[in-house]
């Protein structure tokens, strides 16, 4: 199956959904409040950078704060990960020698501005008149 790489056509699971259809969404995506208490909310607010650590320590469970600080220390190492040097060379070597294929004319984007619209309308009218005249003459 060919992948659809058109960024304007998102995958179905990525499609933005309106609030009206929220009931049809997976539970994990629904914008409903979590059942957690204030402590959980404060913890999340701290992890989201919305409140200082002191507030998290004052409101949330101290063990939870320590837990996430530990997780963050591990995650910070991953955040520094860099693409291994050989990968760049591998990709460049694996690229096709030819330039990327140009888009066929029927897949190119068409920008319709008032001038283009008027010209297209005038053209369509002219073609219609020509066909009408030919049919009338043929009778």
């Amino acid at each position: 199956m060919l992948d659809n790489l058109d960024p304007r056509e998102r995958r179905s699971e990525d499609t933005p959904k309106s609030r009206e259809t929220s009931a049809a969404r997976p539970l994990s995506d629904r914008e409903v409040p979590l059942t957690g208490d204030t402590r959980t909310a404060t913890l999340n607010a701290w992890l989201d950078g919305e409140v200082p650590e002191s507030e998290a320590r004052a409101t949330a469970n101290a063990r939870d704060v320590e837990f996430w600080l530990r997780i963050e220390k591990e995650v910070e190492v991953r955040r520094e990960a860099k693409t291994p040097v050989h990968v760049y060379r591998q990709i460049m070597e694996a690229l096709p020698q030819d330039a990327p294929a140009a888009l066929p004319w029927y897949r190119k984007q068409v920008t319709v501005n008032p001038m283009v619209a008027m010209a297209a309308t005038a053209g369509a009218v002219a073609v219609g008149m020509a066909i009408g005249a030919a049919l009338t003459k043929g009778r």
């Binding site: 790489l5 058109d6 933005p16 530990r70 990960a81 760049y88 460049m92």
Partner: protein
């Protein structure tokens, strides 16, 4: 809104490419590649490979798989480069993210590990390093148990350090939905890990 120093450091890696290459806009580089300058594509790889590699690594847990996905994605991007209509960074991110999701769908992993990881350690002593090895494999196992959408949200927020707005832009969903995913992912990870670590 004031941002506090917290467990998450927010960066904007996709919006602000590296300064060395930033003088030439993506669409100009793409134009050169389409005109036959194959080497110009290397500029786009250098510009975006690190955040994309981190995403693939976070999603798959395997450096080898992350490299494969990155390579396949850039080759696919090269072949279809004429189809880029908007931002290249968002377009290539989508290709990589879809590659990760496809891999997760197709491969049933029983063990995920960063054992081949040669990233520098932030831990000073051998004891700390041993703790870290244990924590990272436990975290990998816990992440592997999350639904792909929750794992993706957690990785983008915590590992890649993106803002919710940037995540919403890249994933085409709302900030509220993403907050919900991240919060649920945290909740699930804490349940999975707290017995040992909390």
């Amino acid at each position: 809104m004031k941002r506090y120093t917290s467990g998450v450091k927010t960066t904007s890696v996709m919006v602000a490419p590296r300064a060395a290459d930033s003088q030439e806009a993506d669409h100009e580089v793409i134009g050169r590649v389409l005109a036959g300058d194959r080497n110009a594509f290397g500029m786009l790889i250098r510009r975006y490979s690190d955040p994309l590699y981190r995403h693939a690594l976070g999603m798959t847990g395997s450096p080898d798989v992350a490299e494969d996905i990155l390579q396949a994605s850039f080759i696919k991007a090269y072949q279809h480069l004429a189809e880029v209509h908007g931002r290249f960074d968002a377009w290539i991110f989508r290709i990589v993210a879809n590659g990760c999701k496809d891999w997760l769908k197709n491969i049933r992993r029983t063990h995920l590990s960063y054992e081949e990881d040669d990233q520098p350690s932030a831990f000073a002593t051998p004891e700390e390093e041993l703790d870290r090895t244990e924590l990272r494999s436990d975290l990998d196992r816990a992440l592997a148990q999350l639904a792909p959408s929750l794992r993706e949200a957690f990785v983008m927020k915590h590992v890649e350090g993106r803002s919710y707005e940037e995540m919403a832009d890249l994933l085409g969903t709302t900030v509220g939905a993403l907050k919900m995913r991240v919060h649920r992912a945290r909740e699930a990870l804490q349940v999975l890990l707290e017995e040992k670590y909390a």
